[in-house]
């Protein structure tokens, strides 16, 4: 099966600043792929370019799925405060209304844990509730490629666990590109990982393959990539 997404030499320059510098990434179909790196590494920029919200400066993007079957969940999803949870998800369903029936709206709201707030206006929602709603609006159309930008950043431990479980359930049904700072989350649910810094790929491959020796933890392996020599002393 061809990969769901291939990025080759993806570059984005803002004035003199290179946000992405020849970034490479391959996403296997049906896999969950972690995308990690420090603040300003270019994670959000890359996701925005793939989602078509920003233009690349150079490089190649190849999709193995139809482009309209892709959906992005931003890191701080925000919605129209005058709509209820049900209306927001129903609006997100609208472009896919031929394939997704109306009953799916209530079902997915229940799956992300917002059943009690289904008819409440989203204006008063906390960031965590907005992230849950963001996941519901992202998944309602049944996308084949799901781009998640730090989906757990505002969630409490229980919410984070539920979010990770929901993402795990997508394995095999959709391809997930999951950007995060929380390395244990990647280790928990991802099949493969890309580590980036300063817009360049430092590592791309399986989660287990990043370890240099068997006893090394995933976190140490990633930190060693980001800060070479930190264990030398």
């Amino acid at each position: 099966m061809p990969p769901a997404l291939i990025l080759v030499g993806l570059t984005k320059v803002f004035g003199k600043f290179r946000a992405l510098d020849a970034l490479d990434l391959t996403l296997e179909l049906g896999s969950i792929h972690g995308f990690v790196g420090p603040n300003g590494a270019g994670k959000t920029t890359m996701l925005s370019i793939v989602a078509g919200l920003k233009r690349k400066t150079s490089g190649e993007i190849t999709f193995g799925i139809p482009e309209h079957q892709m959906m992005l969940m931003p890191d701080t999803p925000d919605f129209f405060s005058f709509l209820t949870t049900r209306e927001v998800v129903d609006l997100a369903r609208y472009p896919f209304r031929k394939n997704v029936d109306e009953q799916a709206v209530a079902r997915i709201i229940g799956e992300v844990g917002l059943a009690e707030s289904i008819d409440r206006r989203v204006g008063g929602f906390s960031r965590g509730m907005k992230q849950r709603l963001g996941l519901a609006t992202t998944l309602i159309g049944g996308p084949q490629l799901v781009l998640l930008d730090e989906p757990c950043s505002a969630l409490d431990p229980v919410g984070r666990r539920e979010m990770l479980d929901t993402i795990s359930l997508l394995r095999g049904k959709a391809t997930v590109l999951f950007s995060t700072h929380i390395l244990s989350d990647v280790e928990d649910i991802c099949d493969s990982v890309t580590v980036v810094d300063h817009g360049s790929t430092l590592y791309g491959g399986s989660v287990k393959g990043i370890r240099k020796f068997e006893d090394q933890s995933f976190e140490d392996a990633v930190l060693e990539l980001l800060q070479p020599g930190r264990n030398i002393e």
């Binding site: 989602a51 920003k54 005058f82 609006l91």
Partner: protein, 280 residues
């Protein structure tokens, strides 16, 4: 739920829609109340005078409408809700929906107030000098074309800035500022040429600045004067607009009509391109 409903909820579940409705309702109410006082004082107030008064009073509603529409068009000001829209709907769908919703809304509110004033005015005031339906229809057509230009210009200005505040301020500056600056320049020009004693209805014939301003598309809305043309106006060949008399001519504001028809699609097209190319 679709984009149409979303726009209507945006208006009806907040102060915006109700404030707009109130502005046009109050314009109608004010024109009737003022009419009653004038009628009692002079016994010379007709229902067409009430309609002219309504047209003047509705300027407040028009300015409010401009502010609300421009802020609705500045949806990229909130990056995250903009992502929600842009990743699900095409720019053509988003802009066309907003364009049609706000255009229709303005026309419905304006003419709703107009019809209410017409009906109440006919009951309360002198209605012996009836308005001409043909002139009304001609005025209606020109008003719709002017409305399209207003929407296209608002769309264009909203595409220049990401935030709502800058867009609203610039739009109001353009709509209010150009006629004000124009009027000042015309006065200065006439003063410099020693022609200031010329009656205002002649200014467009003798002032170079006024001739240039006649191409300003928004001045097509001056043809609102055609809504209340009476049989006696047709007889005298003159019509009133904001207290000034003009020659009753079907080609009144012809230059503005031409520039409206030419500039509206160009502005809308540039706006669509700018929105489409904007990075979020």
């Amino acid at each position: 739920m679709n984009l149409w409903k979303m726009e209507l909820f945006y208006l009806l579940r907040s102060w915006r829609g109700w404030a707009l409705l109130a502005a046009f309702f109050l314009a109608s109410l004010l024109s009737i109340i003022v009419g009653i006082f004038i009628e009692r004082a002079t016994s010379g107030f007709s229902y067409t005078d009430a309609l002219e008064l309504y047209t003047t009073c509705s300027i407040v509603g028009t300015l409010l409408f401009i502010g609300i529409t421009v802020s609705a068009l500045s949806f990229d000001g909130n990056r995250d809700s903009s992502i929600f829209l842009r990743t699900r709907f095409s720019m053509k769908q988003i802009l066309l929906t907003k364009f049609l919703v706000y255009f229709s809304l303005f026309e419905i509110l304006f003419f709703g107030g107009f019809v209410a004033t017409l009906i109440v005015g006919q009951l309360l005031f002198d209605s012996s000098d009836t308005i001409s339906f043909n002139w009304f229809l001609w005025g209606l057509l020109l008003q719709l074309i002017a409305g399209l230009f207003y929407c296209a210009l608002m769309l264009f200005i909203s595409s220049v800035f990401r935030g709502a505040v800058a867009s609203v301020l610039l739009t109001l500056a353009v709509f209010i500022g150009i006629p004000l600056i124009g009027l000042t320049l015309v006065t200065v020009e006439l003063l410099m040429r020693g022609l200031i004693e010329t009656p205002p209805m002649e200014w467009e014939r003798i002032s170079y600045v006024a001739k240039a301003l006649s191409w300003w598309p928004a001045s097509l809305s001056d043809t609102q004067a055609f809504f209340s043309v009476t049989q006696s106006d047709i007889g005298s060949g003159m019509v009133n607009l904001l207290g000034q008399s003009f020659e009753l001519d079907a080609h009144f504001r012809r230059n503005a009509l031409i520039s409206c028809i030419v500039s509206s699609p160009i502005l809308a097209l540039i706006a669509w391109r700018r929105y489409s190319r904007r990075e979020i």
